[in-house]
Structure formats: structure tokens, C-alpha cells
């Protein structure tokens, strides 16, 4: 059941009613859901969680909506997999992969949109909307369909056909003639102009809470404890801050003993305002124009960048800028060792993990979780040049010559 007291400004602490608003009228700070933890602690336990559904909604005591009315297509409870093969490559003996590509539309965005769409129905919106170049489009379109809402998914017209079709199959994709900035500006204006539930604008305080479920699941799947390290790919920074919040809420409520997890920022060279701010000792990331193959991390002006830098510093974490040419290598390494085909953001995470292990930031026996946020099937172009195939004639001789001959060499 929802245990929400208010929306609270993260800057000035003023409270606001639960409405589709996202910014403080007084200081323009971001609003966040404020829970009644005294009530929650009386109702939540490991057992009550385990009795819940195998989705994010098993944690609904700590979400801003009830499972009874949830727009639910099965987001969450994705596998936490022991990664011994990859660990051996990197010199890490206690490594786990949280594989969020196993969500219904193959990315962690199903978690946030499940919460946002549930609140949108609760607020009596008839239209749900987003602007996206990939994962968010599919998640919003799918949940909009499930909720029976009108759906408006805005996509730059020049996006790869596969990504457009992946969202369009659910209906209501709008292609916008223009670049990323044009789509951003249009959607910002539409957000002000139309009474729609824009998942990452006026629904943002609720939407972002869905990401906490990754922190809860990691703790539960490890046997009710927080890991020593988590590596998170950072775009807006929302996911990073909420994984941290999830782990710390569990500790605060006594679900786990403590949460002393070091939070590590992973960003690609072509869009690294948050990791760069961390490395340079700045608290506020400077906006950049994204130019990276990790499209799902291409947020040049990250709304939660400041808070992410703060958490990385506070927890003894780090910020890593991954060269663009190492992204596909990270994707390949994970695929070849663990059988998981990640999106480019996952390549950034694995390359970050590699660097942290090499530099001794993560000790060989320290429990570490690397977060894989989506599937590589949506970003095939990224690994086109990195993989090799062999072609043979349909004869055994050709097979022996080309395949076995190469194997013998």
C-alpha cells in the first residue's frame, strides 16, 4: 500500500501535495516522494516481501502506488547472476551481474514506467507520453497499451528503423523531423502545454522511484545484504541515485543490517559530464553535447548529475570515463564470458569494472554487482565491426579448411 506523505523538495525541504508536479515553486529544486517510514517499518519484513508477486510490486510498501492498481507487464525480479567466468578474466572472485535486459521490453525502463503509468492512471490522465531514442520508448508504449491509455512516443525521425519499429509495434509513435535538441525542446513545450502524463517530466518524482527496486532486488537476491560495490551506467543520474536510495532504505528499515556500498559512476567518453565532474572534483556537472555510441547514456544535461556526484563521493565510489573504442570490447567480453548480450551502456559498465579492478579500486574478494540495463539486440550496429564470422561452402572439405584449419592455427 502507498505510504506517501508528500512530495518534498530536495533542496529547500518544502512539502507539496501528491500531484503531477516535479519542481518546487519556491526554489525550483526537484521534488521527490516523501514516505512515512514509521508506518512502513510496522508493515514490511523479509517475509512480507517474499510473499509478494515476482515483480517490482513486491516492494509496493516503498513505492508511491499500490500493487492492487498497478499497470503491470511483469517488470522486475530480473536475474542476479554469479559471474565467475568474467570475474576470472578481471581478477574478481565475488562478482555478480544484475541483468535487467530480462525485463518485458528488455531494459530497466520497464520498472520506472510501470510506476509512472500507474500514477498516471491514478491522476486520471488519458494520455501518457515520452521522448526517447530507444529503451524508454518501448517501455512507455508497452505500458500505455496495457493501461489502455493514449500513448505519444516522440522519436527523432532519423533513428534506426529497428528502434522505431520496436516501439511502434505497440502503437502511437510520432517521428519528429529534427535533431535531438529539436525533440527535447518540442517535448518540453508540450509538457507545459498539454495535460498529459509525461513520464520523465511531470511524472518524474514517481517514475524515478521505480529504479529503487533494483537496489531492493540486489539486496534480496544476495541473501539480504548490500554488496560492497555497485557499478551503474549514468545518463540523467536518476538510476544511480535511486539504486543508492533503495539499498539505504532497506538498511534504515532493518530489512538488511547495513548499506555501505561504494557507488561507481560509469560513462562513455562521448557523454561523460557526471564522471568528469567527479574526476575533476566539481560538484555540478557541466553540460555537454553528446557524441557517443552509447545512445542510452546520451544525456548532455543530466538532471540528477549533481546528486550522483555527491553520492559517489559520500560512499567512497568513483567516476570512470570509458573510451568509446572500449565499449564494444566490454560488450564482447561479457558476451563471451557470461553469455549475456548487453546494450552499449552495459559495455560501458563492463569496461568500467575492468578499469576499477585493474587499478585496485575493487579488491579481488569484495562483493561487486555490475548493472546491465538493457539488451544488445537494440544496438546491433555498435558491435558490427567488433565481431567476426566465417563463411564456408556447403561441403565438409570447406568446413575443415576454413573452420577447423583456423582452429588448428
Amino acid at each position: 500500500m502507498p505510504n506517501v506523505q508528500s512530495l518534498r523538495c530536495k533542496e529547500c525541504g518544502r512539502d507539496f501535495p501528491q500531484e503531477p508536479i516535479y519542481v518546487c515553486d519556491f526554489c525550483f529544486g526537484p521534488l521527490e516522494v516523501n514516505y512515512d517510514y514509521d508506518a512502513i517499518v510496522k508493515n514490511i519484513s523479509r517475509e512480507s516481501i517474499q510473499d509478494g508477486p515476482l515483480t517490482i510490486w513486491r516492494y509496493d510498501e516503498l513505492l508511491p502506488a499500490s500493487r492492487d492498481n498497478a499497470v503491470n507487464i511483469g517488470a522486475g525480479m530480473t536475474p542476479l547472476l554469479r559471474a565467475d567466468n568474467l570475474g576470472k578474466e578481471l581478477g574478481l572472485n565475488n562478482l555478480w551481474i544484475k541483468n535487467d535486459a530480462a525485463n518485458p521490453t528488455h531494459s530497466f525502463k520497464d520498472r520506472v514506467v510501470s510506476v509512472a503509468s500507474t500514477k498516471a492512471v491514478e491522476f486520471d490522465f488519458d494520455t501518457i507520453a515520452c521522448a526517447s531514442t530507444g529503451n524508454l520508448a518501448g517501455a512507455t508504449a508497452a505500458h500505455g497499451s496495457k493501461a489502455g491509455m493514449n500513448t505519444m512516443v516522440f522519436i527523432p525521425a532519423n533513428l534506426e528503423r529497428g528502434k522505431v519499429l520496436g516501439a511502434a509495434v505497440f502503437g502511437s509513435v510520432v517521428l519528429v523531423n529534427g535533431n535531438y535538441d529539436d525533440v527535447n525542446r518540442l517535448c518540453s513545450e508540450l509538457g507545459d502545454d498539454r495535460r498529459w502524463a509525461f513520464v520523465n517530466i511531470n511524472m518524474r518524482p514517481y517514475y524515478s522511484e521505480g529504479s529503487k527496486s533494483i537496489g531492493y532486488e540486489i539486496a534480496e537476491q544476495l541473501g539480504w545484504r548490500a554488496p560492497e560495490h555497485v557499478i551503474v551506467p549514468v545518463a540523467s543520474g536518476s538510476l544511480f541515485t535511486k539504486v543508492y536510495k533503495g539499498l539505504n532504505e532497506f538498511a534504515q528499515l532493518g530489512i538488511i543490517d547495513s548499506a555501505n556500498t561504494k557507488m561507481h559512476i560509469a560513462q562513455p567518453f562521448g557523454c561523460s559530464p557526471v564522471a568528469t565532474a567527479f574526476v575533476e572534483g566539481q560538484s555540478h556537472p557541466k553540460p555537454v553535447v553528446p557524441d557517443t555510441i552509447a545512445k542510452s547514456l546520451a544525456i548532455g544535461s543530466p538532471a540528477d548529475g549533481y546528486y550522483s556526484v555527491g553520492i559517489a563521493n559520500k560512499t567512497g565510489g568513483s567516476g570512470t570515463v570509458v573510451p568509446e573504442n572500449e565499449i564494444a570490447e566490454g560488450m564482447k567480453l561479457l558476451a563471451e564470458t557470461e553469455g549475456i548480450f548487453t546494450e552499449t551502456a552495459g559495455g560501458v559498465v563492463i569496461s568500467t569494472l575492468h578499469r576499477l579492478a585493474r587499478e585496485g579500486m575493487i579488491g579481488p574478494d569484495e562483493e561487486t554487482v555490475a548493472l546491465i540495463t538493457g539488451t544488445g539486440l537494440k544496438t546491433l550496429e555498435a558491435i558490427e565491426m567488433a565481431v567476426e564470422t566465417r563463411t564456408i561452402e556447403p561441403t565438409i572439405r570447406s568446413f575443415d579448411e576454413v573452420v577447423m584449419g583456423a582452429a588448428l592455427q
Binding site: 533542496e11 516535479y22 519542481v23 519556491f26 526554489c27 525550483f28 529544486g29 525502463k109 515520452c130 521522448a131 526517447s132 531514442t133 530507444g134 529503451n135 524508454l136 516522440f154 527523432p156 535531438y180 525533440v183 527535447n184 517535448c187 518540453s188 509538457g191 509525461f198 520523465n200 517530466i201 518524474r204 545518463a235 540523467s236 566539481q282 555540478h284 557541466k286 553540460p287 545512445k295 542510452s296 547514456l297 546520451a298 544525456i299 548532455g300 544535461s301 543530466p302 538532471a303 540528477d304 548529475g305 551502456a345
Partner: protein, 80 residues
């Protein structure tokens, strides 16, 4: 009157210039600073701009031409 909420991020050279003052004088825009942090090297300012929408657009184009980064309060909306 329409308004927009924006964030200006300024580099070392720009923090020495009265950009916000000039924005309010060159264009028919009322500027209202709500939160800011300025240090020796750089700074950011969150402010509300009130005026006709096309005048605000012209003003923001001018600010950008001065070398100031202008972003919406919610950051980039277009997500992966």
C-alpha cells in the same frame, strides 16, 4: 505572460560579464534568479524568464551566442 524556467551554466570568462542584466535590457524579458552557485572558475544560475515566448526565444539565442549553456530545468528529456 508566458514564462520559462531555465538553467544557465557559465565558464570563467562569462561569469565576469553581466549576462543576466543585459538579457533583461536588450530584450523585453523579466529575469528572476531563484537559485545559483558561482565560484572563481564557473557557475550556474536557475532563473525564471517572463515575457512573450518569441522574445524569450530570441533572448535565449542571444545568451547562447555569448557562450552560455542554456538548458531546461528538467535537464534533457529525450532519453535512451
Amino acid at each position: 505572460m508566458p514564462f520559462r524556467r531555465v538553467k544557465f551554466t557559465m565558464n570563467t570568462e562569462l561569469i565576469q560579464s553581466p549576462v543576466i542584466y543585459e538579457l533583461g535590457h536588450k530584450f523585453e524579458i523579466v529575469t528572476n534568479i531563484r537559485r545559483a552557485e558561482i565560484d572563481a572558475d564557473s557557475g550556474w544560475v536557475i532563473l525564471e524568464l517572463e515575457g512573450a515566448l518569441d522574445e524569450i526565444e530570441r533572448g535565449l539565442t542571444w545568451v547562447t551566442e555569448q557562450g552560455c549553456d542554456v538548458s531546461s530545468l528538467e535537464g534533457d528529456i529525450l532519453a535512451g
